[in-house]
Point group: C2
Chain length 121, copies 2
């Protein structure tokens, strides 16, 4: 599931987890209905207290992305529609363009850089 917490990051663990969960749902890596790890299991894996993981789940649930039920675990809400892949790609491209232009590069240079990146790996 690829959830991690960086102890050296001053950002509170519950917030690191929350952002990753939101991202997993919005990107569709977790589909509606998918079950998340139980609180205790995830807490054990990440070296966190149960209450800390519970807070992350609770906040993402409050955002409407998850649904928790006692005994039933926590699952991705059925009505969440992951952002369509084309939209996400476009958002990535927009971000790349904006940052690259901020550095003062021309469109041609930006294209060349992408070509180099694609050919490299």
């Amino acid at each position: 599931m690829n959830l991690t917490v960086d102890p050296d990051d001053p950002t509170p663990p519950y917030e690191q987890l929350r952002r990753q969960l939101v991202r997993l749902v919005e990107t569709g890596a977790l589909a509606p209905g998918d079950r998340l790890p139980p609180l205790r299991q995830l807490a054990g894996d990440l070296g966190l207290a149960v209450g800390t993981v519970a807070r992350s789940y609770r906040e993402v649930e409050a955002a409407g992305l998850l649904v928790s039920r006692r005994g039933g675990g926590t699952r991705v809400a059925a009505d969440v529609r992951p952002t369509p892949a084309p939209r996400r790609l476009r958002a990535l491209a927009d971000g790349f363009r904006t940052e690259a232009r901020r550095l003062g590069f021309s469109d041609a240079e930006i294209r060349d850089a992408l070509t180099a990146a694609l050919e490299a790996g």
Copy 2:
């Protein structure tokens, strides 16, 4: 100077500031020798305590990017070489490629998305 702190972000203010400072120096937005705002002024502008801003300055100085002197203010270290623009562009392109491929897109689709982004604005 475009330094901001988001009160709603659980990330500690000193850390938000620190990251922005590092970024400004590494991108060359702040050149070696450039003077940063005095502690008290920046603290006042951002609505922070002097000690909080001081901590950010201190940590970036510990990283070798700044030099502080009493009465002389805080300046960008003379020996810091901003990461060359071409390298930064290439890093941006690599990041874009990696994320886009993770979404399952082909090289052609990635190129098309960039083209669309460039034409859009």
